[in-house]
C-alpha cells in the first residue's frame, strides 16, 4: 500500500491532447486556456482542430467567432430571444469586453502565444477537405494537416490524456 502511494505521488500528466470540434468562443477559449495552462505547468500540449473547430485557425474567420445564444441555458435568456437578430453579436461583444478585463488575448494573439509556447496546432485532414479549404486558408502557425491516425500516434507516451471539446 505504501509503495502504491509512493508511485502515485510521482505520477504526473505529461501530455495533453485536445480535440476542438466547435467554433463558439466559449469552447475555443476553453481549449486554448487549458492547452496554454498545460505548457505553463511544463506539460506538453497539442490541439487537433476538426469540423467547426477549424474556424478558429482560418485566417478569415478566427476574429469573428461568436458566443452561442440559442440552445445555451447558461445565457439565462429565453431561447426565442436568443434567436433575435443581433443577439449573438451583443452577447459576443459583452463577453469579449469581460475577457479583455482579465487580460485574455484575442483569438489570433492567443494562437501566436500557443505556438510560441510549443503547443502543436493540427488541422484535421478530413474536415479540411469537407469544407474545401487549402493550406493557405489556415494561419501560418498551424503545424500541419493530419489524419485522425496521425493524431492518435501523437499519444505516444505514458501519462498522455485526450480531451474532446
Amino acid at each position: 500500500m505504501y509503495l502504491n502511494l509512493e508511485i502515485m505521488s510521482k505520477t504526473k500528466v505529461k501530455k495533453m491532447l485536445f480535440i476542438l470540434s466547435k467554433a463558439t468562443i466559449e469552447n475555443v477559449y476553453a481549449a486554448f486556456i487549458m492547452a496554454n495552462g498545460a505548457r505553463m505547468e511544463g506539460i506538453e500540449s497539442e490541439i487537433f482542430f476538426t469540423f467547426f473547430g477549424l474556424e478558429a485557425i482560418q485566417k478569415k474567420k478566427l476574429e469573428h467567432l461568436r458566443v452561442a445564444t440559442v440552445g445555451n441555458p447558461a445565457m439565462h435568456i429565453p431561447t426565442m430571444l436568443g434567436g433575435l437578430p443581433g443577439m449573438e453579436a451583443l452577447a459576443t461583444k459583452m463577453m469579449k469586453k469581460e475577457m479583455e478585463k482579465l487580460d485574455m488575448p484575442p483569438v489570433g494573439e492567443f494562437l501566436e502565444i500557443l505556438s510560441d509556447s510549443g503547443c502543436k496546432l493540427w488541422a484535421c485532414k478530413l474536415a479540411v477537405e469537407m469544407f474545401h479549404l487549402e493550406r493557405k486558408d489556415l494561419i501560418d502557425e498551424v503545424d500541419d494537416i493530419i489524419t485522425v491516425g496521425d493524431f492518435y500516434s501523437r499519444a505516444d507516451q505514458e501519462n498522455t490524456h485526450l480531451l474532446f471539446i
Binding site: 496554454n36 511544463g42 501566436e112
Partner: protein, 102 residues
C-alpha cells in the same frame, strides 16, 4: 517551512517559494536556479529583474505580459526556464507564484 541555502535560513512555502522577498539575494537566486538545473546568464537576469519590478509595482504576471514586455519573447522564455517558465522564474526571483490561469 525553513530551508537552508548557504547557511542562511529562509522561510519558504510548501512549494519552495520564498515567503519574504527581503531574504532574497542574487546568491540565493543562483542557488535556487541550480535546483532547476539552470545556470543563470545575463538574459536570465534581465527576466528576473523584470519579474521583480512587476511584482514590486503590483502588476500581475502572465505569459501575455511576457510577450509584451520587450525583455524576452515567449519561445526564449520557455527555452531559458524549462518545465513551466513563469513558475520556475518566479521561484528563482524570490516572488510568489503567479495565481493567474493565463
Amino acid at each position: 517551512m525553513i530551508k537552508t541555502i548557504k547557511n542562511i535560513e529562509l522561510n519558504v512555502n510548501d512549494e519552495g517559494y520564498l515567503q519574504d522577498f527581503s531574504q532574497w539575494t542574487k546568491e540565493i537566486g543562483i542557488e535556487l536556479a541550480k535546483e532547476h538545473d539552470i545556470e543563470l546568464t545575463d538574459k536570465h537576469w534581465e527576466v528576473i529583474n523584470y519579474i521583480q519590478e512587476q511584482v514590486a509595482a503590483n502588476k500581475p504576471l502572465s505569459i501575455r505580459g511576457i510577450k509584451k514586455s520587450g525583455v524576452i519573447d515567449i519561445k526564449q522564455f520557455y527555452a531559458l526556464f524549462p518545465g513551466g517558465p513563469l513558475k520556475v522564474s518566479t521561484k528563482i526571483a524570490g516572488v510568489p507564484k503567479p495565481k493567474s490561469c493565463i
